[in-house]
Symmetry: C2
Subunit: 458 residues, 2 copies
């Protein structure tokens, strides 16, 4: 990367921080309609900021909050990266737990405290400033860059998929870049190359038509709460393996290299369990805690209810019992196929005298970026140059729906490059972003454009 870019980043570092503070002062809380005018102001702040850099930029209306779209397309034939982020923030409550007010950005001990500092304004802004550094020094970027910065991520991104579908041609790109995750730990930057998929469902087991007196009738009819318990108890064997036939058939197993990688990461299991208040590491036999969280499918009961749930005793045989279930999936498991397999399994294990209903909720496949992909390689090099350490390749156990949407709508994979830390208090009081991580993020982003330019277009 041109030496004048590095110099520009150093020279303008204070101003960059000041501009981010200006943006953070606008309370773009999407969950609370009282902040609606601020949300619009926050979007306009970013749109006009893009224009000052010499990019084309506009607000695209949606049924909810507008999406800020910007682009610099001056590198014909070169790849196009699409940076996704969000300008809306979580509500600041509880206000009294903030050391300094949520919307008065303050630097203490090298950290910038404010709602949105890391989630996601601060992280988005690293890419904005890296583009500025290229344009204001070299006068051009080595690749084409588009930005899609939405205002409803904290309230479920309800209008994003429709927006992407309606604008898919204008948003054509080769790779998506999202900085809304974290480094593995301080001093250990990371690229998240895998996310688990999910399917959600609900099973209700029906017994008698209505709750029955457990004295008069108990013992003579099937109890749906017991029936459901028996069905759920069969879902795992003693080794924690899911017993639904075919559940593991399509699982892409971890490679030896991946397992070695994960095993090499610093991970204090005792501290982890103590933090969660869990008395033991429990899960599928033969896998480490990180593997269980990142790379193995799961089946969890998220909720359970039947009969009387108030104080004291009500002597009934309940009429029904319900379990809410989600399964986390890994590559290459098919949510649709597996939710059907789960339903079949539950029906096959339904005790005599009971009936059941099964409802399927949302589902999404897992995301796995091959660790040897040239995009991962390019991002790794960029991060190493900025952070002084080769990033570790990690996965995450949750889902990031937009990654699936990018694959489905735009046909591209996503680089998940997090500059923050797990401990930055996302969604909590005293959210913050290390100023050094902010600056390294800008640097890494500036390197990224160059590294991505050399990836052959598929």
């Amino acid at each position: 990367m041109d030496g004048q870019i590095s110099a520009y980043l150093k020279t303008h570092a204070e101003r960059f921080l000041g501009e981010l503070k200006d943006w953070l002062r606008i309370p773009t809380v999407s969950a609370d309609p009282a902040f609606h005018a601020d949300v619009l102001r926050g979007a306009e702040f970013l749109r006009s900021h893009f224009e000052t850099l010499g990019m084309t930029s506009r607000l695209v209306e949606t049924p909810g909050n507008p999406v800020v779209v910007a682009e610099w397309m001056g590198a014909p034939g070169a790849p196009t990266a699409l940076v996704y982020g969000h300008y809306d923030v979580q509500p600041p409550d509880p206000l009294d737990l903030w050391t300094t007010p949520a919307f008065e950005p303050t630097v203490r001990d090298g950290k910038l405290f404010a709602r949105g500092a890391t989630d996601d304004k601060g992280q988005v802004f690293t890419h904005v400033k890296s583009v500025e550094a290229w344009l204001k020094t070299v006068g051009r970027l080595p690749i084409n860059v588009r930005f899609v910065v939405e205002g409803e991520e904290e309230v479920g991104s309800e209008n994003l998929e429709d927006f992407l579908r309606r604008h898919r041609e204008e948003l054509a790109c080769d790779i998506a870049v999202v900085s809304d995750t974290s480094q593995y730990a301080p001093g250990i930057p990371a690229i998240t190359y895998g996310l688990r998929g999910i399917f959600a469902c609900e099973v209700t087991v029906f017994g008698p038509r209505k709750d029955l007196h457990s004295g008069v009738f108990g013992g003579s009819v099937a109890n749906p709460a017991f029936g459901l318990a028996r069905m759920l108890a069969k879902l795992h064997d003693e080794a924690g393996r899911i017993q639904v036939p075919g559940f593991y058939d399509d699982v892409l197993p971890l490679t030896t290299e991946e397992r070695e990688q994960f095993a090499g990461l610093p991970f204090d299991e005792t501290a982890y369990l103590s933090e969660l208040g869990a008395s033991a590491a429990v899960g599928e036999a033969g896998y480490s805690t990180l593997e269980r969280r990142w790379a193995r499918p799961t089946c969890e009961v998220n909720g359970l209810f039947s009969g009387y749930t108030g104080v004291g005793t009500k002597t009934i045989v309940p009429a029904r019992a319900t379990a809410k279930i989600t399964c986390r999936l890994v590559a290459n498991q098919d949510p649709k196929k597996l939710v059907e397999a789960l339903e079949r399994f539950l029906r096959a294990n339904l005790p005599t005298g009971l009936t059941m209903e099964f409802h399927t909720d949302h589902g999404a496949p897992a995301f796995l970026f091959h660790p040897d992909s040239p995009y991962i390689e390019a991002a790794g090099t960029a991060i190493e140059r900025a952070f002084g350490a080769r990033p570790v390749l990690i996965r995450e156990g949750g889902s990031i729906p937009v990654v699936t949407t990018f694959r489905q709508v735009l046909g591209v994979d996503t680089l998940l490059l997090g500059w923050g830390q797990n401990t930055d208090n996302l969604h909590s009081p005293d959210e913050h972003f290390s100023v050094a991580d902010f600056q390294r993020g800008i640097h890494a982003s500036a390197e990224l454009w160059e590294c991505l330019a050399s990836v052959p277009r598929s």
Copy 2:
């Protein structure tokens, strides 16, 4: 029984019905404070009625509604019977489902419709009128009779036990008589000689300190909802036998005679299941539906809750899961011993990584009157004379707490002699009592005093 008594019952039958109607017009709804003055009026109605018969009678104050106490103790050396009943009634709601208003007693098709017609004013009144018949003809009763008619049965009889303890000497008796149950079926009068006992408890299984994100953490910590399901699933084997060690050790088995008796009762299992909306008769292998309900212990989940129970999906590993459990007991099982055995069993089956808390609620032993008892024999004879059929000996699956209290406080057994029918709409709109059953009940009660007089005092 003296012929003049039968004649008196016939002559005054219309007046008896009219007096009962007068009492039923007073809406003695104990659940609703708006009816408090009526409750007191209803108590006073009965108290003064006893006085007109030449009995001593008074209202005994409690922290709740007063108890009507009356007695005729003019048979020194003869046994003393204590008639228990209640003058309070269920709320009449939903009002619009009554054919005629709940507190405007109306006879249609030989049935007296009113709230409290059978539960329990009508049934209590049979004993009041039989005493009248003896006193107004023979001038004395063959035994001593006490009445305890409370006003809080429909709201849990909270003050009854304390009342009985405070007045135990004044209430000394040889046998208690309660008419608050039903005949087995029309034309099949019954004596209920057994009730099941009960213990209630609640088990909560704890996993992580708080609900965890099922993506980030799921698969690496024990899920308490699954843990609880596994524990509950172990409570019964495939044959429906409770697996708690020692659970059946003290069970007094049904005799061959009892099993033959029950098997000889008309019972339409298909109609029974259809009425309940249950698709199959399910329970402990080797027992009939009546045996399962009346004479076998059970273990039921009454309520179950864990994690998210609202609409849709919440992707969590819940922090805890709770089951409310009641076990029905039979003679000679000890509630205290068995609730401890259940706790031990659950703890022994608690999966790794979870903790549990166990809370014990109320418990009461079963009640079993030996079918060959001279009291049963005496009551059987009285009923046969009045109803023209020997009563069948049945049990009931529920508990009637006052029966246990009489045993514990007064040291006496209870004759459960129900004059009504299961189909009399107790607690429902259009509650009614067959006028013929009312009259046969008075007759049976009048015979009962004579039959009980010949039972040797223990």
